[in-house]
C-alpha cells in the first residue's frame, strides 16, 4: 500500500510538473517559428499534445484513486466510495491549487453533460430490471414528477419567504431566481443514488423506486430549469397565464418527446442488430454510438436527454440481447460498466477538485443552512404525502421504514452542480453563492447521507434484498400462487396488472419479435435457454479449470468414486434441515462473477470427502433449480438484481448450473463400464469450447446463433443447416460428444419437438458406429432421455430409421416398456434403475 501511495503521489507530481509549464509556456507557445540551426533529434512537443495528454492523464489519475482506497477495505465499508473519491479530489485539488495558485482543472458543465453523463445513463437504462421498473412505473412517475415539482416549489418559496424576511441578508435575487435554484437542487441525482444505494442493498422495490425516480425526474428538472430560466430572462412582468400554460405544455412535450426519441433509437438499434450477423466484431460499437446519439438528439431538440437515453437502453435491451451473439452481449455489458463506472469515478474526483477554488466560495450562512434544512424537510414531507396517496392504490403498500429510507435517499449530486454552473452570471447575480451552496449540498448528501445510510438501514431493519435460498415448498408454492392469481384474474374478468402484461406480451410476440429480432433469436428468446446455455459454458470452463488445477490424473481417479457417492446419495435418507443457502452465494457482496465461479468450483471438486457434503447440498440445489427452471412461469416474472459494480447473473442461472453438474455425474457413472472411461467428458468439453472455431465458416454463425438457444443440443440445431450430416466423419463424433457432454437431457426433448428430421439422420450414424467406444456413451444418454417420453414422440422416431442394425433398439424403444429397448446398451439403465429404486419410498 505504501508503494501505491507513493506512485500516486509521483503521478500527481508529474501532473503538476506538466501543468506548470503548460501555463508558463502560454505566452511563448506561439514562438514555434524560430529557425532551427541544426537537425533536432528529439523535440519537446508539449504544446501540440497537451490537451489529449492531460485528458488521458486525468482519467488515469481518477481511476488510480479508486485503486488507492480499495486497498483498505475497512474504509470502503464505512464511507461510500463516492465520498472517498471526493476526499481524494480535495487533496488533488489542494495540490494543484497550491502549485498554480489558480484552479486550472474544474468540472466544466459541457464536459460533464456531454462526455461523462451519457454513458452512466445508458448503462442505467440497459441494465434496468425491466419487469420491476414497469411494474412500479406508476409509483415512480408520481415520485418523479409530482415529487420533484413539490420539492422545487416548496424550496423556492421557502427560500423566498426567508429572503423577504431578511434572514439572508442582502442578496440580489428574486422569486424567480430562487424558484430556479429550487428546481435545480430539488432533483434526486441518479449518479449519487447508484453510488450510495449500490453498497447498501435494500430490497428491490425500494431501490427501483428511488432509482427510477432519480432517472425520470430529469424530465421535470429540464423543463423547470428552462422555464424559469426563460422567465428570468423575460423579467417578472411578462409572465402571465399564457406563459404558465406554455410551461406546463412544455413539460409534456419535453418528457414525452424525450422518451419517444429514446424509443425510436431503441428501435433503430434493434433493427440494426438484426442485420449485423456478419459484422459481429463491431456490433457492440453500434449500441454505444446509437445510445450516445439518442442523448445528443434529444439535447439538440431541447428535449430531456436523460429520459431519451434511459428509454433507449430500457427498450432495446431485450432485443439486442437476443439478436446479438453472446460474445457481443458480454462485450456490451462489460464495456458499459467500464464506461459508466469510469465516468462516475471521474465525476466524483472532479467534484472534489472543483471545490478547491476560493474564487467560487461565497459564504452566506443563512442561505446555505436554510437550503439544507428545507431540502431535508420538504423531501420527507413530500415522500410521506405521496406515499400515503399511493398506498391507497398499491397492492403492497410501502411501509413507514421504507418511506423513511426513501426520503433519506434523496441524494443530490453532480447533475445539480452541472446545472448551476450553466446559469448566466448576468441574470443571476448570486451565481457564485448558488454554486457554493450547491456544492455544499452535494457534499452533504453524498458524504454524510452516504456514510450514514448503511447504519441507518441496518438500524431500521429495512428489508434487504433477499439472499437466502427459499425452501422447495416455498418455491413451488410461489409458483402455484402466480398461477392462481392469473386464473382468478381471468375468472373475475378484471383487467389487472397481469392482464395488461399479458396483452403486452402478446403484442410483443406478434409484432415486435417479428420486426426486431432475427428469426433464430425469435425462436429461442426464452430467457431460460439463454441463461442455461451461458451457465453451461461457464460451468464447462470451471470444470476444466478444476481439472487442470488438480491435475488430470486426480480428476480421473476421483471420478470413479463420484459414482459411488451418487448412488449413495439416492439411497440415503438424508438428514434434513440443512440450510438451503447456496454456498456459492450470489449475494450482493462484492464478489465478482469470476470468483463466484471459482467458489462454485469446489462443488465440482471430486474429493471424496467433500464430494459427499456437496452431493447432498447439490441434491437440494438440483431440485431447487429444477423447479426454478422448469416451473411454468405465471404471467408475473422474476426479479433482477441491479448492480453497477458487478454483473451478477440471476439466481436462476446459478441454480440451473447444478443440473449440469448432476447430469455430468450421472454421465460419469454411465462411463463406469464404458471402455474409454473418463476421457469423453473432457474431450467433449474441450470440443465444446473449440466448437465455434472448428466448424466451417458457413455454419459458424449458425453455431453462434444456436448458442442463443441456450441449449446445448447443437446437433439438433445444426441439423437445420442441411450440411449438418455432410461434415460427417470427424465432426460427427465431435458433435456427438458435444451432445454427450451437454447438460440437460430434458432439453433434448424440447429440441426434438422442433426438429424431428435432423436427429434421425444422426442417430443412425452413430448407432452404426456402435463399435466406437465413446459413442456408446451417446446412445445411452439418449436412451436415458427417451425413457420419460410419451409413446407418441417415440413413434415419430420409428419410421425414420435408416440403418439396419439400429432397428432393434428402435422397435423396442417404441414400446412403452422401454426397459427392453435399452438392453442393447447396458451401462446406463441399471444404475438409473438403481436410482429409481432408491428414490421410491
Amino acid at each position: 500500500m505504501p508503494a501505491l501511495w507513493r506512485s500516486t503521489f509521483v503521478l500527481v507530481m508529474v501532473l503538476l510538473a506538466i501543468s506548470r509549464p503548460s501555463l508558463a509556456s502560454q505566452p511563448t507557445g506561439n514562438g514555434t517559428e524560430h529557425t532551427i540551426t541544426t537537425l533536432p533529434i528529439v523535440i519537446w512537443k508539449w504544446e501540440g499534445i497537451k490537451f489529449p495528454y492531460l485528458v488521458a492523464l486525468w482519467i488515469l489519475v481518477s481511476w488510480l484513486c479508486k485503486l488507492v482506497f480499495q486497498l483498505n477495505p475497512g474504509l470502503t465499508r464505512v464511507i461510500p466510495e463516492s465520498g472517498l473519491l471526493i476526499c481524494i479530489g480535495w487533496v488533488l485539488g489542494g495540490i494543484i491549487y497550491g502549485a498554480d495558485k489558480v484552479q486550472t482543472f474544474r468540472l466544466q458543465p459541457f464536459t460533464f453533460f456531454f462526455y461523462l453523463l451519457p454513458q452512466i445513463v445508458l448503462d442505467a437504462g440497459y441494465s434496468m430490471p425491466n419487469k420491476l421498473f414497469f411494474g412500479n412505473l406508476g409509483a415512480i412517475l408520481v415520485y418523479a414528477v409530482i415529487g420533484t415539482c413539490w420539492n422545487a416549489a416548496t424550496l423556492g418559496l421557502a427560500l423566498w419567504g426567508c429572503w423577504l424576511g431578511g434572514a439572508m441578508g442582502n442578496i440580489d435575487t428574486g422569486l424567480l431566481q430562487l424558484l430556479l435554484f429550487g428546481s435545480l437542487i430539488a432533483a434526486v441525482d441518479p449518479v449519487a443514488v447508484i453510488a450510495v444505494f449500490e453498497e447498501v442493498h435494500v430490497n428491490e422495490v425500494l431501490y427501483i423506486l428511488v432509482f427510477g425516480e432519480s432517472l425520470l425526474n430529469d424530465g421535470v428538472t429540464v423543463v423547470l430549469f428552462n422555464v424559469f430560466d426563460a422567465f428570468v430572462s423575460l423579467g417578472g412582468g411578462q409572465i402571465d397565464a399564457v406563459e404558465i400554460i406554455k410551461g406546463i405544455i412544455s413539460f409534456f412535450v419535453v418528457a414525452v418527446g424525450g422518451s419517444l426519441v429514446g424509443v425510436v433509437f431503441a428501435l433503430l438499434i434493434s433493427l440494426l442488430t438484426r442485420c449485423t450477423k456478419n459484422i459481429q466484431i463491431i456490433e457492440p460499437g453500434f449500441i454505444f454510438v446509437l445510445g450516445y446519439l439518442s442523448y445528443l438528439t434529444a439535447e439538440m431538440l431541447s428535449l430531456s436527454a436523460i429520459l431519451s437515453c434511459t428509454f433507449c437502453g430500457v427498450c432495446c435491451q431485450k432485443y439486442i440481447n437476443a439478436n446479438m451473439d453472446e460474445r457481443s452481449v458480454s462485450t456490451v455489458r462489460y464495456t458499459m460498466k467500464v464506461f459508466a463506472n469510469g465516468s462516475e469515478t471521474i465525476i466524483f474526483v472532479f467534484l472534489g477538485i472543483s471545490a478547491i477554488d476560493p474564487s467560487l466560495w461565497v459564504w452566506n450562512t443563512a442561505f446555505i443552512l436554510l437550503t439544507l434544512l428545507f431540502i431535508f424537510v420538504f423531501r420527507f414531507i413530500g415522500v410521506f404525502l405521496l406515499t400515503w396517496i399511493l398506498n391507497q392504490y398499491r397492492l403492497v403498500p410501502l411501509d413507514f421504514i421504507d418511506q423513511l429510507v426513501m426520503g433519506y435517499g434523496g441524494l443530490r449530486g453532480a447533475v445539480a452542480y452541472g446545472l448551476v454552473l450553466l446559469l448566466d452570471e448576468n441574470k443571476f447575480k448570486e451565481k457564485t453563492l448558488m454554486v457554493s451552496t450547491t456544492l455544499i449540498v452535494v457534499y452533504f448528501t453524498v458524504m454524510l447521507q452516504g456514510i450514514t445510510m448503511k447504519p441507518l438501514v441496518t438500524w431500521l431493519k429495512v428489508k434487504r434484498a433477499a439472499v437466502t435460498e427459499r425452501t422447495l415448498a416455498e418455491k413451488i408454492q410461489n409458483r402455484t400462487f402466480d398461477h392462481m392469481l392469473v386464473a382468478i384474474e381471468d375468472i373475475s374478468g378484471q383487467i389487472g396488472d397481469n392482464y395488461m402484461r399479458d396483452k403486452w406480451n402478446n403484442f410483443e410476440e406478434r409484432w415486435l419479435y417479428w420486426l426486431l429480432m432475427t428469426p433464430i433469436a425469435r425462436k429461442s428468446c426464452d430467457p431460460i435457454f439463454n441463461i442455461f446455455h451461458n451457465l453451461n459454458i461457464k460451468d464447462a470452463t470451471s470444470y476444466v479449470n478444476e481439472g487442470e488445477r488438480r491435475g488430470s490424473l486426480a480428476f480421473v481417479r476421483n471420478e470413479s468414486k463420484a459414482d459411488v457417492d451418487f448412488n449413495k446419495k439416492f439411497g440415503d435418507d438424508l438428514s434434513e434441515m440443512r440450510p438451503y443457502i447456496m454456498t456459492e452465494n450470489m449475494g450482493p457482496d462484492h464478489v465478482p462473477v469470476s470468483s463466484i465461479l471459482r467458489d462454485s468450483v469446489p462443488s465440482v471438486c471430486l474429493d471424496m470427502h467433500e464430494q459427499d457434503l456437496k452431493m447432498r447440498e447439490s441434491e437440494d440445489f438440483d431440485a431447487h433449480h429444477l423447479l426454478q427452471q422448469h416451473l411454468y412461469k405465471g404471467r408475473k416474472q422474476h426479479r433482477h438484481k441491479y448492480s453497477r459494480k458487478q454483473l451478477e447473473v440471476n439466481e436462476d442461472e446459478h441454480e440451473v448450473q447444478e443440473i449440469f453438474q448432476r447430469t455430468m455425474r450421472s454421465r460419469l457413472e454411465s462411463f463406469k463400464s464404458a471402455k474409454m472411461g473418463v476421457a469423453p467428458p473432457k474431450i467433449s468439453k474441450h470440443l465444446k469450447k473449440d466448437q465455434p472455431q472448428k466448424m466451417p465458416n458457413g455454419k459458424s454463425t449458425d453455431n453462434s446463433k444456436s448458442h442463443t438457444y441456450g441449449d446445448e443440443d447443437f446437433e439438433f440445431s445444426e441439423g437445420d443447416s442441411a450440411s449438418g450430416c455432410e461434415a460427417a466423419g470427424g465432426s460427427f463424433p465431435m458433435r456427438a460428444y458435444r451432445g454427450a457432454g451437454i447438460v440437460n437431457p430434458a432439453f433434448m426433448a424440447e429440441m426434438d419437438t422442433m426438429d424431428p428430421m435432423p436427429p434421425m439422420q444422426q442417430i443412425p450414424s452413430w448407432l452404426a458406429e456402435a463399435e466406437v467406444d465413446s459413442s456408446t456413451v451417446v446412445p445411452s444418454q439418449r436412451a436415458q432421455l427417451r425413457l420419460p417420453w410419451t409413446p407418441s414422440n417415440l413413434r415419430r422416431l420409428a419410421p425414420l430409421r435408416l440403418s439396419t442394425h439400429s432397428n432393434d433398439s428402435f422397435v423396442l424403444a417404441d414400446s412403452p416398456a422401454t426397459q427392453e429397448g435399452i438392453s442393447e446398451l447396458p451401462p446406463p439403465p441399471p444404475p438409473k434403475d438403481g436410482q429409481d429404486q432408491g428414490t421410491h419410498k
Partner: protein, 177 residues
C-alpha cells in the same frame, strides 16, 4: 356481504361478471362455463382452481359461493380487530393458506400425500422434467416440510413451511380490495 367484506360496488361488478359467464342464464355456473374462459385453459392448475369453486359433490356454483371463493383473494385488512370470538374472515392469512392447501389436497383427507404433490408438480413443470426428477423433487419437498415423518404434509406443516412467504402479497388481487 358482511362475511366477504366486499363493498357493494364490488359485489355489483362481480354479479355482472357472474352473469356474463353464465351463458345460459340459469343463475348457476357449471364447469363448462368456467372452461369457456380463455386464459384458464392455458393455466396449468386451471382445472384445480375451477374445481375449488365447486363444493364437494355439487355440480353448480351459485353467486354466493362464487363471491365467497373470490373473497379469498382480497388483500388482508390489517386494521381488523383481532376478535377471537368472530369466525376467521375469508381473506385472512389462514384462510388463504387453507385455500391453497385444498388445491393440493384433492381427496380432502387433510393431508397432502406424495401422490397428490406429484400430480401438482407434474402439471406445473414442463414436459422436459423426467419422472425420476419429479419424484425426487416431491420427496425433497415432503422431507423439508414433513415434521412428523408421516410422509405427507398436513395443514399445519404446510402453514409452517410458508411462514416466511408474504401470503398477503402473493395471494391477493388488488382490485378486489
Amino acid at each position: 356481504m358482511q362475511e366477504t367484506g366486499f363493498t357493494p360496488a364490488h359485489i355489483v361488478r362481480l354479479y355482472d361478471r357472474f352473469e356474463a359467464l353464465d351463458k345460459e342464464k340459469t343463475g348457476l355456473l357449471r364447469p363448462q362455463d368456467f372452461g369457456a374462459i380463455n386464459g384458464l385453459a392455458m393455466n396449468p392448475i386451471g382445472d384445480r382452481i375451477i374445481g375449488a369453486f365447486f363444493s364437494p359433490g355439487q355440480e353448480t356454483v351459485d353467486f354466493h359461493s362464487f363471491v365467497r371463493i373470490l373473497a379469498h383473494f382480497r388483500p388482508e385488512d390489517k386494521k381488523r380487530p383481532k376478535d377471537p370470538s368472530m369466525p376467521e374472515p375469508v381473506n385472512s392469512r389462514t384462510s388463504k393458506i387453507k385455500f391453497a392447501f385444498q388445491l393440493y389436497d384433492q381427496d380432502k383427507d387433510g393431508k397432502i400425500s406424495r401422490a397428490e404433490l406429484l400430480q401438482v408438480l407434474r402439471s406445473m413443470l414442463e414436459m422436459q422434467v423426467t419422472e425420476e426428477q419429479l419424484e425426487s423433487i416431491a420427496d425433497r419437498t415432503i422431507q423439508e416440510a414433513d415434521l412428523d415423518k408421516d410422509d405427507a404434509i398436513s395443514f399445519e406443516e404446510f402453514r409452517k413451511s410458508l411462514e416466511k412467504v408474504n401470503i398477503d402479497h402473493k395471494m391477493s388481487i388488488r382490485f378486489l380490495r
